[in-house]
Symmetry: C2
C-alpha cells in the first residue's frame, strides 16, 4: 500500500554511522567531510566518503547538528496578522533572504491574540531558533526580553519600547509628509486620517503624531483623525458633510479596504466626492474607481534587511541597536485627482479608461 505506518518511529534513515561503516572510516571523518573541515581529510578518504554518501543517499540530520553546535539554521518570525498583505510581503522578503543564506523560517501568526503570542514564543524558544523577527504588539515583554538575552532579535514596523533591538520599518514622518504634501498640492483642504486602533503600536502612533504635526505646519489644511470601528460609515458621513475639498488618508491597507467599502456603502462616487491616499500599495488599488493613490512600502527590502540585521548580529556585530527607516514610493492614481470644480461638480472629469 502506498500509505505507510508512521506512528511507530520507523525512522530507518541513513545515519552518519552507516556512511562511516560503508566508507570504512570513523564518524569523525564523515563529520569533517560534511562540515567545513574537508581540508583536513586526505583525498583518498574524502573520495570514499563522498561515494558512500552518494550510494546511501545520506543527508545529515540538522537537529542533531544543532544540538552540539548550537546552530539550527532556523529563524523565527512572529507576525501579528498573517492576512495583512504588508506582513505577507515582508515575510516573503525574509523568507527569500533566509533561503539564500541556508536558513529556514518558522512562521508564527498570533492573530493579534496575546495568548497565541505567548504560546508561539515558548515554542520558538524550545526550537533553539538562532534569531527572531518580531512584528507584533509585543505584550509578553518578559518572554521577549528572555529571548533577547539568548538570541538576536529584530523588530519590524513596530517598536517595542523596552526592547531596544534593531528596528526595520518605514520612515513614518517622511511618509506622512509626502502624503499630506501630495494632497495639499492636489488641492485638497480637509484631510481625515483613518487608522486602525493604535493600541500602543508605535508605527500607528508615529503616523498619527506626524499627521498632526504636518497639519500644524500647513496653514492651508485642516484635518481630523478617526480609528476604525463599527461607526466608520457614520463618521465618514459626518466628514463628507463638511464644506470644501476633502480627502481620506488611510494609514494602512486594512484602513483603505474599510474606507473604500464604507464609501461605497454610502453611495459615494469613487473618488469624486472625496479623495483618498493609502499607505501600502495593494494589487487591487488600480481597479477601484480610477485607481487609489498609494505610498508603497519597499516590503521586500524591509524583509531582506531585517534578516540582514539578524545575520550581522549572529556574526558577532555588537554595534548599538540600529534603526533602518525606509522611504515609501508615491504612486499617483485617480483617487487624488481633484475633479474640476473642487468636488462640487462630480462630472466626467475622470474618463473611465483612466489608470
Amino acid at each position: 500500500m502506498a500509505v505507510n505506518n508512521f506512528s511507530a518511529a520507523q525512522r530507518s534513515r541513513v545515519t552518519m554511522l552507516d556512511v562511516a561503516e560503508r566508507a570504512g572510516v570513523s564518524k569523525a571523518s564523515v563529520s569533517r567531510f560534511i562540515g567545513d573541515d574537508r581540508a583536513l581529510l586526505s583525498d583518498a578518504i574524502a573520495l570514499r566518503i563522498e561515494q558512500a554518501i552518494d550510494e546511501l543517499g545520506y543527508r545529515p540530520n540538522q537537529m542533531a547538528r544543532g544540538l552540539k553546535r548550537g546552530r539550527t539554521r532556523l529563524i523565527g518570525m512572529l507576525v501579528a496578522d498573517i492576512r495583512n498583505p504588508y506582513s505577507i510581503a515582508v515575510m516573503h522578503g525574509v523568507e527569500t533572504a533566509c533561503r539564500q543564506h541556508g536558513y529556514s523560517l518558522v512562521v508564527c501568526n498570533t492573530d493579534r491574540d496575546d495568548e497565541q503570542e505567548r504560546q508561539h514564543l515558548a515554542a520558538l524558544r524550545s526550537y533553539n531558533i538562532e534569531g527572531l523577527i518580531v512584528n507584533t504588539l509585543g505584550h509578553h515583554l518578559d518572554q521577549l526580553l528572555e529571548l533577547q538575552r539568548e538570541m538576536p532579535l529584530v523588530l519590524v514596523d513596530r517598536k517595542v519600547e523596552p526592547l531596544h533591538s534593531d528596528l526595520v520599518g518605514l520612515d513614518n514622518p517622511a511618509a506622512v509628509r509626502i502624503a499630506v504634501e501630495h494632497l495639499e498640492q492636489q488641492g485638497y483642504r480637509n484631510v481625515l486620517l483613518v487608522s486602525e486602533t493604535t493600541d500602543g503600536t508605535s508605527s500607528r502612533l508615529e503616523r498619527l503624531e506626524s499627521f498632526k504635526a504636518e497639519l500644524a505646519r500647513r496653514s492651508g489644511l485642516t484635518g481630523a483623525v478617526v480609528e476604525l470601528d463599527d461607526e466608520l460609515e457614520s463618521r465618514l458621513q459626518t466628514f463628507l458633510a463638511k464644506p470644501g475639498s476633502k480627502a481620506l488618508f488611510c494609514a494602512n491597507g486594512i484602513a483603505a479596504l474599510a474606507c473604500t467599502r464604507a464609501l461605497k456603502a454610502l453611495g459615494c462616487e469613487l473618488f469624486n466626492d472625496v479623495g483618498l491616499i493609502a499607505l501600502d500599495d495593494l494589487d487591487w488599488y488600480p481597479l477601484v474607481g480610477n485607481g487609489i493613490t498609494a505610498l508603497a512600502q519597499p516590503t521586500q527590502a524591509i524583509g531582506a534587511s531585517a534578516f540582514d540585521c539578524l545575520l550581522k548580529r549572529l556574526r558577532g556585530d555588537t554595534a548599538p541597536a540600529r534603526t533602518l527607516d525606509f522611504l515609501p514610493e508615491l504612486i499617483i492614481r485617480g483617487s487624488t485627482q481633484l475633479p474640476v470644480g473642487g468636488g462640487l461638480l462630480p462630472m466626467a472629469a475622470c474618463p473611465s479608461a483612466y489608470l
Copy 2:
C-alpha cells in the same frame, strides 16, 4: 549594552541537568516530569521538580527531545506562491490547527521555482519534520517520494500523480458547474474561461475539463478558454467583439485580478460590457464595479483538514489515500447581473450604491 554577542555560542540556557541538581533528583525523573510519565513519580519528587523548574525558568529543548524520540513537533508546508491569497488563507488554516495541537509550522515558499523547491525539500528533510503539506507543482518527484517514505504527506489543491497521498482541495467539477449554471441562469450565453497556464497543475486542468464538459451539456451556451499571458488584453478584446451577452469565468484570484485590470485598460464599463465570476473570494471583490461574483473556497477548513489528515496518519491511520473535496460557496454580486437589454444598452442598471 543592550546588544549582546551571540556569535560565540554563549548558550547559557537552563538544562535538564540544572533542574535535576537543583531538585536533588536524577535527569530521568525530570524527564518523566516533563513527559507524559508524571504518574510514575511520587508527589514529593514531582513537587520538588516543579519548584526547581519554576525557579530556574526551565524550558525543555525540543531539538534534543526530537533527536531520541523522533518527534520534532514540526510540520513542513511547501507553498508554490506565498503571495497568492489562496495559499495564505490555507496556510492560516494549517497554522491554526498546528498550534492547537502543539505543532509548529515551517513554511517554505518556492516562488514557482524548481530549484527553490529542491532546496526547500532538502532542508525540510534535514529538520526531521513529522509531516509535510504540499501545494506546489511537484517536480522533483524523486525527493517527494523519498520524503513520502519517511513521513505522511498531504497534497493541497493539486494532485501530484504518482504520489497518491491524501488530497485536500476543491470539488472542481461542482465548482465549475455552479459557476456555469449561475452564468446561464443570469442570461449569459457566451463564456470565456480565463486560467493561469495549466502547466500540469491538476486543479487547473480539472477546472478546464469540467468547463468544457459543462458547455457540452448545455445547448444554450458557447464558450472558449484562454490562458493568462501578455496577450490577455487583445484576447479579451476579440472575445468582447462577439455578439450576445458575454461573461468571463476566472479560474482563480490571479486570473480575476488580471482580467479586471485588462478590462479596465480596454475601457470597459465594469461589468456592463461583460459579466465576470471568479473562483476564490478576495476582499476587494465587493469594491470593483458593482462587486465581483465569487465562488469562495472554504480555505480555513481546507487548511485545518490538511493538518487533520496528517495527524491521523501520524497516529497510525493506514487507510488508503483519501480525497477530500470541499464545496465552494456562491457569493452573488453585481458582476453577474446582466444589464437590462442584454448588455447592449449599458445604462444605469446598476446604481452605484449597489453591493
